[in-house]
């Protein structure tokens, strides 16, 4: 059964996105790549927030926190703390540099086509890893609510992104992302407010999170700790992960955030270094609105799940739900909730009646009563199913679907821009075919965006076998942290860093990190073999130091960069100083 409200929200929001795309059609390469370099800092901040908050943030994060408790903090700190690094260390300087893409900076600063091409490979690698997660999110949202298959959902999503990314380029994407931010933040906070009121009596989720459970003197978190430990789970406010691992994962996510090409590229769209700093602040503000609500949503979701599912009497599909539920209630027992039955069809929830009593026992690994766990929920469904679990009105349920799609599509569009500009600008214009006219470059950019949409969709379809959306995305961060972050950072803060050092850093970073991840995730490596107990999600941080050290040593052993390059670095450190420097420009003057 497809709810009319869901169709209403999805059609309405998709209509808005297409409308914006037609209005914001890009006319020049500058508009296509960087929206003409004149986006207002607040608008750019909002677009960055939507670009940044992906299907992983929207769909998976609260669910992950619900099950990991304190362990979920790595995502909260990691995905916000990176903005401090971005604002202080990268964004203003890269804007002062004044070009279009991340490989542009690497190629010019390190006066090397080889470095540029490696940066293109890094950017493509990171973006494709990331986009698979987005397309998977689109598929999950569609298949759960709109009654279409997972693959058809991805095709619809692809078609929409295709229209506004290929037509409008960065300009179209920026203004669509603003609309998408509004949709997604509204969709996220409205159910959170309802849930917070129901569980803690406080309408502000951030305050409900630290408040008492409604009608008691016990704090909500203490009550939750008691509930989950009684069932044999780890205490909600602690974790089984080692401290070093928590540290490394948080750091890999932070440095990765600062090194992600689709985030960095957004700071090329504002008018000055000062605007770039402000824009990073606005971005974090808009992100924090969701990220400070997420832990509350996670805790409430866990509470609601245990309350409604544990010890409920199961009703099979062969029975009439309403009739049977009424009988169970009349017996003074709890029937399996209706939302559970509707989500069960998607395969995201599994119940296996191990002891044959027809009652759903939800237990942790060390259940004090020795009963085996019979219910296995997929973490991804939590945000989507939350409004139904909390028995919220139907218009809220539909809104959440639109929000999930907004989060996934806005991020996918941002990633497509990186892929398309890396191909048309960095590979074609700057490396293989420098005599291309602007018109030709635009056409190549549009074709590249179109091909990227198709590839992304296919990746999404095949990625359905991969683990949780958030974990897939975590790989992209390790790679960005170990390869792109160090070369950009050293390129700004260390004039002596040269071409050879940069190439060594990027190669070491991407090779070591991907080998570690591939070995432990796909080739049967076990947790016992992790180096110093650091999981593949956190290893990017360790290899970041390694790649930086290798790059520094190689730099010092080879000749210093030419004077023109050192002058270029000096220029981007001081706002308003940027001049053209012969070889550093490769025949292209910096943009205004």
């Amino acid at each position: 059964m497809v709810d009319p409200w869901t169709i209403f929200w999805v059609v309405l929001t998709f209509g808005i996105y297409i409308g914006i795309a037609i209005w914001a059609k890009a006319g020049s390469t500058e508009e296509f790549y960087v929206a003409g370099h004149d986006v207002h800092p607040t608008i750019n901040g909002m677009a960055t927030a939507a670009d940044w908050m992906s299907a992983a943030s929207f769909l998976s994060m609260a669910g992950l926190i619900a099950f990991l408790g304190y362990g979920g903090s790595v995502y909260l700190m990691g995905w916000t703390g990176g903005y401090v690094l971005l604002a202080l260390l990268l964004a203003p300087y890269l804007r002062e540099f004044g070009k279009f893409t991340v490989p542009d900076f690497v190629g010019d600063r390190y006066y090397s086509k080889v470095a540029r091409v490696i940066a293109v490979v890094c950017a493509l690698f990171v973006s494709f890893t990331y986009i698979a997660g987005q397309m998977k999110g689109v598929g999950v949202a569609f298949s759960g609510f709109l009654g279409v298959s997972y693959n058809a959902g991805i095709l619809i999503g692809m078609a929409i992104v295709f229209v506004y990314a290929v037509m409008g380029g960065m300009k179209g994407i920026t203004y669509t992302q603003v609309a998408q931010y509004v949709v997604l933040i509204f969709a996220y906070t409205v159910p959170a407010i309802f849930m917070s009121l129901a569980i803690t009596g406080n309408p502000i989720p951030q305050l409900g999170f630290i408040g008492n459970a409604a009608g008691t003197d016990v704090s909500m978190l203490n009550q939750l700790n008691t509930v989950v430990t009684d069932l044999g789970f780890t205490e909600y406010t602690s974790t089984t992960k080692s401290k070093l691992d928590v540290f490394c994962i948080t750091a890999a996510l932070m440095f990765g955030t600062a090194g992600l090409p689709h985030v960095i590229i957004r700071f090329f769209t504002v008018s000055s270094a000062q605007a770039a700093r402000k824009s990073a602040g606005w971005a974090l503000m808009f992100i924090a609105l969701l990220y400070t609500v997420a832990p509350a949503v996670g805790a409430f979701a866990r509470m609601n799940f245990v309350d409604t599912v544990n010890e409920a009497v199961y009703i099979t599909d062969a029975e009439n739900y309403d009739q049977r539920a009424a009988e169970i209630l009349a017996d003074g027992k709890k029937p399996v909730p209706e939302w559970y039955k509707s989500w069960e069809k998607t395969g995201l929830l599994k119940y296996d009646d191990l002891n044959g009593d027809g009652v759903m026992q939800y237990r942790g690994p060390d259940a004090p009563d020795g009963i085996k766990n019979e219910v296995v929920p997929n973490r991804d469904i939590f945000v989507l199913a939350n409004p139904q679990i909390a028995k919220l009105p139907n218009w809220v349920v539909g809104l959440v679907v639109a929000g999930g799609l907004a989060a996934a599509l806005s991020t996918a569009a941002g990633l497509l821009m990186v892929i398309s500009s890396a191909v048309s600008h960095d590979l074609m214009k700057r490396t293989f075919k420098p005599d291309m006219s602007e018109k030709e470059e635009m056409r190549v950019a549009r074709i590249a965006a179109a091909v990227a949409v198709v590839c992304a969709g296919l990746t999404g379809i095949y990625a359905s076998q991969l683990p949780f959306v958030a974990q897939v995305v975590a790989f992209a961060f390790g790679l960005a942290a170990a390869s792109l972050f160090p070369v950009i950072f050293l390129g700004i803060f260390w004039k002596r860093m040269n071409r050879e050092g940069a190439i060594a850093t990027m190669l070491v970073g991407i090779i070591t990190t991907s080998m570690y991840i591939v070995y432990f995730k796909f080739m049967g490596g076990t947790a016992a073999g992790w180096w110093f107990g650091v999981s593949p999600e956190g290893i990017g941080f360790a290899f970041m130091w390694l790649s930086t050290a290798v790059g520094v040593v190689v730099s010092l052993m080879t000749t210093a960069p030419p004077q023109e390059i050192q002058d270029l670095v000096q220029d981007i450190r001081i706002p308003g100083q940027r001049k053209s420097h012969g070889m550093a420009e490769g025949g292209m003057a910096p943009a205004e």
């Binding site: 903090s73 260390l89 999170f209 700093r277 974090l284 450190r573 308003g576």
Partner: protein, 94 residues
């Protein structure tokens, strides 16, 4: 004025070296705070801080899930303000 703080009186002279030095000092001190609230309060010293509480939440846990984010935001706001002041003082055209 406290020791170590940069004098913010506009000098109306273009001083790129002074600007860069002030920028580096500000960047480093803000990053120290950034490290302390996230890795410090939220991870390394979490157990110790969990003996205290903010509302009904253990303090270290709260820093890891909510508090650090508020401080991050404050850090960027401080950075933007100070940098604008530096640009005025050292005669840099933003």
């Amino acid at each position: 004025m406290q020791k170590g703080e940069v004098d913010l009186e506009p000098t109306n002279t273009h001083d790129a070296a002074g600007y860069w030095k002030a920028t580096l000092r500000l960047t480093i001190s803000l990053l120290v705070v950034w490290f302390l609230v996230s890795y410090g309060a939220g991870i390394i010293f979490r157990e110790a801080l969990d003996n205290f509480s903010i509302g009904g939440a253990p303090l270290g846990f709260w820093f890891a899930q909510n508090g650090a984010i508020y401080v991050f935001l404050a850090l960027i706001v401080v950075y933007c303000r100070k940098m604008t002041q530096y640009e005025k003082k050292f005669g840099i055209e933003g």
